[in-house]
């Protein structure tokens, strides 16, 4: 593996990691705040991808596709939280079951409207192609996703650490009862985080589509599984953990894909197993029960 290939793989891995991070960070915060393991999170990712494809095909504007996917994510997330998750508050099992139901329904709706097959997704013309620096070839779109991911990560990090709302969210992850006792409506905060996480997931989906070249109804569950691996590695509820976990999973996937494409998931599962053995609560997890 030459230096050029190595740089290329690293960029690819980081870019994939960023898109998984958009999915995993919301998942992790939602879980950290209310103990809700949102199995519909991947469906919101997929919904974002499909929205992006439709909007881009009709308007030709990728910015519009990004924005509308996030809007769809926020609204669907808000509705899902109101109609289902809220009703089984406090019951971990029922929450998993109900969000799984939402996942099934959303996936089937997408299949009913767009068909079960993949839909090819072109890279926007402005971002197509690549730059060649010496023997290193940098794919423009990959760099774009990397940049967007970084901007989002830094923004969310600043929101969490520098604003009052972010402080409430972090406190809520540490101890929801205490925050509630201090007179803050934690459920309202949770609704907000849920919808915001849904928007991030949808953004991840719309960016993932051109990167892999297609959308399909199964992309939600596949990427959600990677996001699960990320949060298990990083630690549930930890934003930093999600970021680090995503980078690890993205890079590990990219490097193994070069040597042995079949084994790229196996390496990630192995990584997860090792973390679980050594640090059951993840690299940045907050203590046990």
């Amino acid at each position: 593996m030459g230096m050029a290939t190595f740089i290329n793989l690293t960029v690819n891995g980081l870019s994939t990691g960023m898109m998984i991070f958009l999915l995993a960070s919301g998942l992790s915060l939602i879980f950290g705040l209310m103990g809700v393991l949102n199995f519909a999170h991947g469906s919101l990712f997929m919904l974002g991808g499909y929205t992006g494809v439709v909007v881009f095909a009709h308007s030709g504007s990728f910015i519009l596709a990004l924005v509308s996917a996030m809007l769809v994510g926020v609204s669907v997330g808000w509705v899902v939280e109101r109609l289902t998750v809220r009703r089984v508050y406090g019951n971990a099992i029922a929450q998993i079951l109900i969000t799984t139901g939402v996942m099934i329904v959303l996936n089937e709706l997408v299949k009913a409207v767009f068909g079960p097959d993949i839909i090819a997704t072109p890279v926007p013309p402005l971002l197509a192609g690549s730059w060649a620096i010496g023997s290193v070839i940098l794919i423009k779109y990959r760099l774009f996703t990397l940049a967007v991911g970084l901007v989002v990560a830094v923004t969310v990090h600043l929101l969490l650490t520098k604003t009052r709302l972010g402080m409430v969210v972090r406190a809520g992850v540490e101890n929801p009862e205490m925050v509630q006792a201090l007179g803050i409506n934690i459920r309202q905060v949770f609704s907000l985080v849920f919808a915001f996480g849904a928007a991030l997931a949808a953004l991840g989906g719309v960016m993932m589509a051109p990167a892999v070249g297609a959308v399909n109804p199964d992309m939600g569950l596949q990427n959600q599984m990677l996001a699960f691996i990320v949060v298990v590695i990083g630690g549930m509820g930890s934003f930093l953990g999600s970021a680090l976990g995503s980078i690890l999973v993205g890079l590990a996937g990219a490097y193994t894909a070069w040597f042995l494409p079949e084994a790229s998931l196996a390496v990630n599962v192995l990584l997860m197993a090792v973390v679980l053995l050594l640090r059951p609560n993840g690299l940045f997890g907050m203590g046990g029960e």
Partner: protein, 389 residues
């Protein structure tokens, strides 16, 4: 198997307050006998070796009803070949029974232990592939079938031990996430290891001669289903099964009573995995064909739908759910030629499933049982740790 059915150490049973665990039973647990070996002092029924301590006359009638109906159903199923000779019907009945057993094994986890698995299909698929690969390479003999059963049991035990050890130590929700990852890994192995599995195209194989006749095969599956139901019932009603119920109802309390919660959960996943593996064997024999479809996460979701719709924590609910969904999907797919939307029959079951989780957590069977017993069968909704983080 017997090792896992043994009762917990007597010291555990005699812990002060251990009988309290029985008070937290809800739904099906109320109508059935608690730990048979050592009924807690004070709750034993007046006359001799009564099976239903603490239950009055109405309770006993309910018990008769629940134990009588399954026998009746089995009798009707047993005479079915006298009434019809439609091979399509036997085919459907086989599938209903096999998927019923698969869903019942899922119920051990969801309904009786209170953990959600998203990788249950990997046991099903492992069973299916084990029997298919062995029979393909050795020829259709009964001995090789038994070898496949033995292999499946062994592999299922190892896999559930590994996954359970990794995930159950942390939080219950980790089990859902980690099983999904492992199921995906197994699906990829099945797809890429073309030498053994022929990937997504799959391969067909010959089943033992005595199973080739559809009616004989139907009886074979019926006997298989009845035997597994008896075994799983026996397990659920064993002292170990009782402890699982108490874990479902209140994990903290079970832990404070001195039970090694993780060990009991591990036993639950072992038993569920083995039964799912056996269902996979039956499925492969029924189809005489395997492909990556037997490893698809869709199958886990089917088991979840079937169990929840039929009634989680009821054991027989799995068969009601399986009958309903398979029969309906059979009907709907023939209607789908005219109404394309019906091809997405999962949509209908998905919506039904959400409504059931929200409003009737006991599913169909729980709903009727609740009415009969005059109590709300609230299924998993009861006593689970509130606000678990």
């Amino acid at each position: 198997m017997a090792r896992f059915l043994r009762k917990p150490d007597s010291s555990e049973v005699r812990l002060p307050g251990a009988e309290d665990a029985g008070d937290y039973k809800e739904g099906p647990a109320r109508t059935e006998s608690p730990a048979r070996t050592e009924p807690p002092a004070g709750t034993a029924a007046p006359h001799g070796r009564a099976k239903v301590p603490g239950l009055g006359r109405p309770g006993r009638e309910v018990l008769l009803w629940v134990s009588g109906l399954p026998v009746l159903v089995v009798l009707i199923l047993a005479v079915l070949p006298l009434l019809t000779s439609s091979y399509a019907l036997f085919n459907l009945m086989d599938q209903i029974l096999i998927l019923g057993v698969f869903a019942m094994s899922y119920d051990i986890l969801l309904g009786y232990t209170g953990i959600v698995s998203f990788g249950h299909v990997l046991f099903f698929g492992t069973g299916a592939y084990t029997v298919a690969i062995i029979l393909k390479h050795t020829g259709p003999g009964l001995g090789f079938l038994l070898l496949a059963v033995f292999g499946t049991v062994l592999i299922s035990l190892v896999i559930s031990l590994v996954i359970g050890y990794l995930s159950l130590r942390v939080k219950d929700v980790y089990y859902a996430m980690i099983t999904l990852a492992f199921a995906e890994l197994f699906a990829i192995i099945a797809e890429k290891w073309r030498g053994a599995t022929n990937g997504a195209d799959g391969f067909s194989f010959r089943i033992p001669h005595f199973l080739e006749d559809p009616i004989l095969f139907y009886y074979f599956i019926l006997v298989f289903a009845v035997l597994t139901v008896i075994l799983v019932r026996r397990f659920i009603h064993s002292p170990t099964g009782r402890v699982l119920l108490s874990i479902r109802e209140n994990e903290k309390r079970a832990e404070f009573l001195g039970y090694n919660v993780i060990r009991f959960k591990l036993i639950s996943t072992l038993v569920a995995g083995v039964v799912a593996g056996l269902a996979g064997i039956a499925w492969a024999l029924q189809q005489a064909f395997v492909s990556t479809g037997v490893m698809a996460t869709d199958k886990t979701i089917d088991a979840l739908l079937i169990t929840t719709i039929g009634g989680s924590g009821t054991l027989y609910g799995a068969f009601i759910g399986s009958g309903l969904t398979n029969f309906a999907s059979d009907r709907l797919s023939s209607l789908a030629e005219h109404y394309p939307l019906l091809q997405r029959w999962h949509l209908i079951f998905g919506l039904l499933y959400i409504l059931i989780v929200l409003f009737f957590p006991g599913g169909i069977l729980g709903f009727f049982r609740g009415k009969r017993a005059g109590k709300g069968a609230r299924g998993y909704r009861t006593g689970l740790q509130k606000g678990q983080r």
